[in-house]
Amino acid sequence: MLTIGLTHYLVVGAALLSCGIYVMSTKRNAIGILIGVELVLNSAAVNFVAFDRFLVQTTLDGQIATLFVIVLAAAEAAIAVAICVNLYKNLTSVDVDQASRLQG
């Protein structure tokens, strides 16, 4: 227990993943769902860095993958917030259940 290994970090990553999926599936607010996505992305990023630290070590693959995850998360958040603002302009609400006009 006192030596921190790969498993410890993987468990933290798994907890973040589960919380993220829970948030994504239960929240009705579009930005709430976005927050869930961020949690999931973070769990993946923690796993990348942990694998890089404990298994790879010679190359920096894991850390660089995490850097790309962070960049893509920023890009995704920018687009998603813009979409949410647009949704709010059209529906005066960001409840995702109301955005069903295309279902006919």
């Binding site: 921190i4 798994a14 973040l16 589960s18 009705r28 860095v49 813009a82």
Partner: protein, 212 residues
């Protein structure tokens, strides 16, 4: 006039607690094998006990604040809990001796993405107390799925036998990451640059004011 100094007690206790809260991340910053300033302090560390304690503290706060994201109903509170989670994940990177990734997590994720999210919340809510209710059946189904997922993953992890790798003492140099980004990862690096440019234009286009 009665000088009510008893009021000092609670604020000062809170202030002390706040300083301790600040001390924890400060201590976590280098616990992951940051090169110590002198030879002597390096050998004086009592094993990796300190690392272990810092890991447990930071991991606990990470998971608790992630649960806080799940539980809270208000979006701004969710964002504040997410702030806590992201900060602690950054500290986890520092504990893993990935200092550059940790710093980037702080500057891009916490300082940029999260502010963007809060901005989005402010632009899209009618009142601070706007709530979006979810059906209890949905909630319990999601709960079952997520708890199942988490316990399955933990089972898998406990049955895995990872090769034991010796913990290095020094962290990775920023220079190595820079060199790797401009040699091995040049194509994805440039692709990410192009993507960011497209995103910038696209977001500006999506969120622009319609001219009536």
């Amino acid at each position: 006039m009665v000088l009510r100094l008893h009021k000092l007690t609670i604020p000062s206790l809170v202030a002390v607690a706040g300083l301790l809260l600040t001390a924890a991340p400060a201590l976590a910053l280098s616990a992951g094998g940051e090169a110590s300033p002198t030879e002597a302090t390096k050998v004086a560390a009592p094993g990796s006990l300190f690392d272990a304690i810092m890991f447990y503290v930071v991991a606990l706060v990470t998971v608790v604040s992630a649960l806080g994201v799940c539980i809270s109903k208000n979006v701004v509170r969710m964002a504040v809990w997410l702030f806590c989670t992201l900060g602690c994940v950054g500290l986890l990177y520092f504990l893993l001796a990935a200092t550059f990734v940790g710093a980037i997590q702080f500057i891009v994720y916490v300082g940029g993405t999260l502010v963007l999210l809060i901005f989005g919340v402010m632009l899209t809510s009618k009142s601070p107390w706007a709530r979006y209710e979810t059906h209890p059946v949905e909630l319990s189904a999601a709960l079952v799925v997520c708890v199942g997922l988490f316990s399955t993953l933990c089972l898998v992890f406990s049955s895995m036998r990872w090769p034991v790798v010796q913990w290095e003492t020094e962290g990775t140099a920023v220079r190595d990451i820079g060199v790797a980004l401009l040699t091995r990862y040049l194509v994805p690096f440039e692709a990410a640059a192009v993507l960011l440019f497209i995103v910038m234009v696209g977001a500006a286009h999506l969120a622009r004011q319609e001219k009536k």
